[in-house]
Symmetry: C2
Subunit: 375 residues, 2 copies
């Protein structure tokens, strides 16, 4: 992955660049790639759809088939799922997964409006709802039902900014204090500025292979995909019976743990979808790692610090590492790989051997959960 | 599929409607669907991405995972490929594939500009190239190298409009004469108005199942997917060594025939990608059904009429049935299914048992070939 933030390159350039890096680091050759799965939900902001053939042409493999996979903010984890299915099903031996987003050349209002296309246009976005407002709705319901406190949300922001300060890929690389958090302006109550992830440009790429076929070629520290699971839930907030949970997170996590033949206690650490601090709370609770109402308190107590009992978002998360929509899911996997490789420096998760990645589309219409094991 | 043309419903409404029809006609229940693959390349023209959860919510199956697959004009055949891989690989038992496009609410120039996003922005679209111009480049090279005649391209237009006049799903339902064709204005030499497909709205849906699991449920006339193959070729025209062929068509067709264990003579009829008449010529030649330079002449001689030796585009093709980008690939399969079911009326292909669908993304950066057999 590149450093998330304001990137001057075009999306296609970033995508080709991280793809080449991923292939070189993997030890395989571009010619081994059987399919390229691209994610680039808002490529049309650069007037460019059909990105796969451009990337493959840049890699010198124009004959390789490709497609672009969109599932709002869970686009590149959905792409990884397709790569997994193609390889585990025996259809190809190796795949390239590449997620890229570039929106910083737009005005903030235009960028917000692109993001909002992930919500339900007819019933949400058309009426003025944007993601800060939609997640604030989930947050206020959580505060009311479980007594979650502003300082507890703040503790998540402080933790994730600290982790990002030790991550050279992160958009934000400065720690923040609780005071800074509490003094920041309210964006949509109860969410403050530092509860919200930034708009970021960025790209991330993964090489997925049938390990048996490339035993001699694989370089560096590989990981086994122990589970690749996806689920959905009701798209629009207005149609849901409960605003304090995202059912797709529970369904996808249950599927993934069953597929991996693991229990929750087997997971060392996780990268979860924290587009807003409340989203990290929901992820930890909905996936069943904490009882409902307990996750924010646990974060405030340091349980989820990078060296805590269950590290959550050692990368800094979407919150502070940044959130280039279609690059996010693959970037979560990059963090897990770097932890396994012992390359995470001061944000290291001690004894990291099993990592979980949780990536949500919009307010929970889609969710992907992957479990990786160091091999 | 619905009737292609100017459709007043929103994309999401069309998509849910054809999906319900497909599921009802298939005999399975919505609850059997394991994954929903949507195609909607230009959904953002309606400010709506992340369409899967909306469709699944409308179908009463919000828990089912979904994603949107884009490969320019070959989007829904790429989606069908994912459904095939998921089912043939044993990951799910049934999938919904639904393609939808709605652009008629835009000005023509805006719609053209959306379409052009499938080309290479930096080197083609930004410099003013749109698809009529890009395909005219391919056509003029073909005319020069092989002596292809305007009247031979015209014969394809006349044939496809005749077929469409017998297809209740078609955008255009009136036959045209060669005189009408020849008198129509030049859009981009040598392509005349009637060489070009229209902008259409439309939606089409397919239900794909593991036949062994649903033996008792399947209604109507099913077909076996004997092959599902995809390939790519160099994206931008400027980077190609030959402008008279699309390599991805040859690669995908070879892969598909090998997968199906069939020879070209086993194919009864085909739906091919004729966004422009020249594209039908290229498809027939590049897939190896006619020698280079011979396809247009064969069409003029009636060989590819719906009751000819090798029927091509009995539906009327993109040319006259219409081309709602992301609905096109799935609609080609609908035509093959209707031919197998004996529901094609006056456009019937006699003794149709094996049909091939060929769907190109942009000017050939992507290509999908599917082979279906009546069972």
């Amino acid at each position: 992955m590149n450093r998330f933030g304001k990137v001057s390159e075009k999306g296609r350039e970033m995508a080709a660049s991280v793809s080449l890096d991923a292939i070189e680091n993997s030890g395989i050759s571009p010619k081994d790639i059987g399919y390229t799965f691209v994610s680039n939900a808002f490529g049309i902001a650069e007037r460019q759809a059909h990105l796969g053939p451009l990337i493959n042409t840049a890699l010198g493999i124009p004959e390789v088939p490709s497609c672009t996979i969109e599932s709002a903010c869970s686009s590149s984890s959905a792409a990884l799922h397709e790569a997994f299915v193609h390889i585990a099903g025996g259809f190809i031996d190796a795949a390239l997964v590449v997620g890229v987003e570039k929106l910083s050349h737009l005005e903030t209002l235009a960028a917000t409006s692109y993001f909002a296309m992930g919500a339900d246009y007819a019933f949400e976005s058309r009426n003025g709802a944007t993601f800060p407002g939609l997640y604030a709705t989930l947050a206020s319901a959580h505060l009311k039902k479980y007594g979650t406190k502003q300082e507890e949300l703040g503790a998540i922001a402080v933790k994730n900014h600290l982790n990002a300060s030790n991550n050279p890929h992160a958009h934000f690389q400065k720690p923040i204090s609780m005071e800074t958090y509490l003094n920041s302006p309210t964006i949509s109550w109860p969410l403050k500025l530092y509860d919200c992830c930034p708009f970021s440009d960025g790209a991330s790429a993964l090489v997925v292979v049938n390990a048996a076929k490339f035993k001699k070629d694989i370089k560096g520290q590989p990981a086994a995909i122990r589970a690749s699971a996806r689920a959905g839930s009701i798209a629009a907030l207005q149609d849901r019976t409960d605003l304090t949970a995202i059912p797709a997170s529970r369904t996808a996590a249950d599927k993934a743990l069953k597929q991996a033949k693991m229990e929750r206690k087997d997971i060392n650490f996780m990268e979860v979808h924290d587009c807003f601090t409340i989203a990290e709370v929901l992820a930890m609770e909905d996936m069943g790692f904490f009882p409902k109402g307990a996750a924010a308190k646990a974060a405030a107590e340091g349980v989820t610090a990078h060296d805590g009992k269950l590290a959550v978002n050692p990368s800094g998360g979407l919150k502070a590492k940044g959130h280039p929509v279609s690059a996010t899911g693959a970037a979560q996997i990059v963090e897990i790989m770097e932890q396994f490789a012992g390359k995470a420096g001061k944000r290291e998760v001690p004894h990291a051997t099993v990592g979980l990645a949780h990536n949500v589309g919009a307010t929970g219409g889609s969710c992907s959960v992957h479990i990786l094991q160091k091999v």
